[in-house]
Amino acid sequence: MIKHNYIYIVDDDAITIFGIKKLLSQLSRTPKVREFGNGKTALQAITNALKQGKQVPDFIFLDINMPIMDGWQFLEEFLKLSLDKKVTINIVTSSIDPCDKKKWLSYRTNSKHRLLFNNKPIFSIDLEHIMRINLAS
């Protein structure tokens, strides 16, 4: 039984969301996608799902620069949650600030989840990442 993958896109840029969704739609098996304009609303959705015993995302596209709660703040809070499954978080940012890359590295080593780091633009989505979730779940 292969479950549909559940994917969150957390980004305040409508064009990026459009692009990611378009790329995902090209996959043979279209996953279920939810989008959020900032980290706060995404975090609320996850905590609600946990409370209600609903499905939490397998894969999160996470932007860094966002209003209200940015990507790092979201990550900080997300890592505190007690989750059974291993979630892949793909940080997608237009930032080329080396500080951001360093931050990612330090989070990656201290987390049980899988953290990826990609600079915008995204032209394709590595199927491997999504497939591996399939296998894992």
Binding site: I15, N65, P67, I96, P121
Partner: protein, 616 residues
């Protein structure tokens, strides 16, 4: 009878002879002696008369005398000079003559001894000889020569030393004219000619320092002294000395020259130089020190201590240093000191104090050197300020570069992605959708560039001129521009600022700052109440503070405080939020050397305070 008479008178005559005389017979027995003879040898008549001559003068070596007496018996007359010591211990000199004593028949019947006291003569001779030697020695040691000029014969005589001084051969014979011509022509020669003239005609003595040119052409410093000698009230001779003082004068000149050199050096050093005695009283100051203390005459500072020149506190510190240096004999080198004069002016010095020792190695004072480094310190401070400013600017610049790169990158990334989609898209509808997205992305890019331009303008126009601005006039103007917006949101404004309140600011920035803050106060209103805004202003030292308070949403400063004034940071789910207003306001305020602070409580409201620097 006659014979007896004669004999008696003969004896008495001999006794009364003025010349000390004694007659001894052929047996050397004293037959007669004058009183003067007896007196000279301190003999009583009974000790001498009829006694053997050699027995009377017992205790002396008589070998020579015996020979002499024998010669007399053979008809010779002998002379001699001898000395004896009187009973009072004085040296007495006498000349003696021993001659044969003939009777009427020319037979030698004895010897006539005559003595003459020549002590005085001999003494004066010795004295003269001594004096002459002494004088010769003296003249050689002190280079003093003598001369004598006889007015009648017009003869001038020079001593050997005088000749030596003039560097002429010892057989040189000068004339009064040639003597004067040795003096250097001009002042020296005129002076000596006049002095000699006055000596002859007015009887005046002189002593003068002059220069002579010796026969060998050497220039010498001499002291020439002269004194007229009188005979019967007439000047007959001039006597004088001439002393070679070239060495002394040269040494003196050299000393003066090195003193002058040292003084010039000390005075022209760009240092305050002073020497203090054991009690810290100044005994030497240079020009710089005088100028620093505002005194033209260095003498006015001599003998003064720091207690006379500075307040007690400053003077005490200085005195303690002096005592320390003198006690330990160790220098204080390059110590940074601040000296405050009585008029309150303070100067920074780099001071060195060095112990001044006497020949025996004991401290006798302090040598001080102070370099005024006020200007240097001022420059240093300016430099430090500049470095700080540069560091801040640099940080800002890096920050700005990141913002720019991030913002531009996010748009270009979107372009890239959309174009990639467009190329690969087959469906016409989807193509149109992507094109729409592209145009949206292009608008976003334009907006971003405009925003960035605004920021660059602020950062490049650092030197915009500040003017005194009426705060209320500007508030009213912005209120009028926002009238529609304020009315729509039902905003109420209270203003406690007086109409004459002025602020030093750049006019364009002032309006932009007020606009941003006022817009924010309304934009982030609380959903449950109408916005209420109040303006206030106050003045603290050199700073004017303008505050704008609202009753809006408020901001969680603990979470967002750091980012509040950052670029593209928004904190509320407000579709109008651009995240640039406060960033620009902050840049504008900082460009005017001011600052902006915020106090806020979530759900209660916020107060933004703008600090305007009153200085230009």
């Amino acid at each position: 009878m006659l014979k007896t008479t004669f004999a008696t008178s003969y004896t008495s005559i001999i006794r009364q002879l003025p010349t000390a005389t004694a007659f001894v017979d052929s047996n050397l027995k004293i037959a007669h002696a004058s009183n003067s003879w007896l007196d000279f040898f301190e003999l009583k008549p009974q000790e001498a008369m009829g006694k053997h001559l050699l027995e009377v003068f017992e205790g002396h070596d008589h070998t020579e005398w015996k020979k002499c007496l024998n010669k007399c018996f053979k008809g010779f007359t002998e002379h001699g000079l001898q000395h004896k010591t009187s009973s009072t211990g004085d040296m007495q000199w006498f000349e003696w003559t021993n001659a044969p004593w003939y009777d009427d028949n020319e037979n030698i019947i004895g010897i006539i001894i005559q003595t003459e006291d020549v002590t005085k003569r001999v003494e004066s001779e010795i004295k003269f000889e001594k004096l002459e030697n002494l004088f010769k020695e003296q003249s050689e040691i002190s280079n003093v020569g003598t001369w004598e000029y006889n007015l009648f014969t017009e003869e001038i005589t020079w001593s050997d030393m005088t000749k030596k001084i003039h560097e002429v051969p010892l057989n040189y014979s000068p004339t009064i004219d040639s003597a004067i011509s040795f003096y250097k022509s001009g002042h020296d020669r005129n002076t000596i000619a006049m002095l000699v003239h006055n000596g002859i005609n007015k009887g005046e003595s002189w002593s003068a320092k002059s220069k002579i040119i010796t026969q060998k052409g050497n220039e010498k410093w001499i002291v020439s002294a002269g004194k007229p000698l009188y005979k019967n009230g007439q000047v007959t001779r001039l006597l004088g000395t001439i002393q070679d003082i070239t060495k002394q004068v040269n040494a003196e000149i050299k000393t003066k020259e090195s003193e002058q050199l040292l003084r010039t050096l000390i005075d022209n050093l760009p240092l305050n130089v002073f020497i203090k005695d054991k009690e810290s009283r100044k005994i030497l100051v240079n020009k710089s020190e005088c100028e620093y203390l505002g005194i033209t005459n260095p003498e006015a500072l001599i003998g003064k201590s720091d207690f006379d020149l500075y307040d007690e506190e400053i003077a005490n510190i200085s005195r303690d240093e002096d005592v320390h240096v003198m006690k330990t004999q160790k220098s204080i080198l390059g110590k940074r000191t601040v000296s405050v004069k009585r008029d309150g002016t303070s100067t920074s010095f780099l001071t060195s104090k060095i112990p001044w020792l006497d020949i025996n190695g004991n401290s006798q004072g302090v040598i001080g050197l102070s370099l005024d480094i006020s200007e240097m310190i001022q420059k240093e401070d300016q430099l430090r300020d500049l470095i700080n400013v540069t560091a801040i600017q640099n940080k800002k610049l890096i920050n700005f570069a990141h913002i720019v790169s991030h913002n531009l990158r996010s748009h270009t990334a979107n372009f890239s992605m959309l174009l990639d989609f467009l190329i690969n898209e087959k469906e016409e509808n989807e193509k149109q959708r992507i094109l729409g997205m592209l145009s949206h992305a292009s608008d976003n890019l334009m907006d971003t560039l405009e925003n960035l331009n605004e920021v660059v303008d602020i950062s490049t126009n650092v030197n915009l001129e500040k003017k005194p601005l009426n705060l209320n006039e500007h508030l009213t103007k912005v209120q009028q521009n926002l009238a529609g917006f304020l009315h729509k949101n039902n905003a109420k404004i209270t203003n406690t600022i007086t109409d004459d309140f002025m602020v030093q600011a750049v006019p364009a920035y002032m309006e932009s700052i007020i606009l941003n803050l006022m817009t924010n106060a309304v934009k982030y209103k609380h959903p449950e109440r109408d916005p209420k805004i109040s303006f206030s202003a106050k003045r603290e030292d050199n700073v004017t503070i303008f505050s704008i308070q609202d009753n809006g949403l408020g901001i969680d400063l603990e979470k967002y405080g750091e980012k509040l004034f950052g670029m593209y940071k928004t904190f509320h789910n407000n579709p109008d939020a651009r995240g640039i207003g406060l960033y620009i306001a902050k840049n504008q305020i900082e460009a005017m050397s001011g600052k902006i602070t915020v106090k806020s409580d979530v759900n209660t409201g916020s107060t933004f305070s703008v600090y305007f620097n009153d200085k230009a």
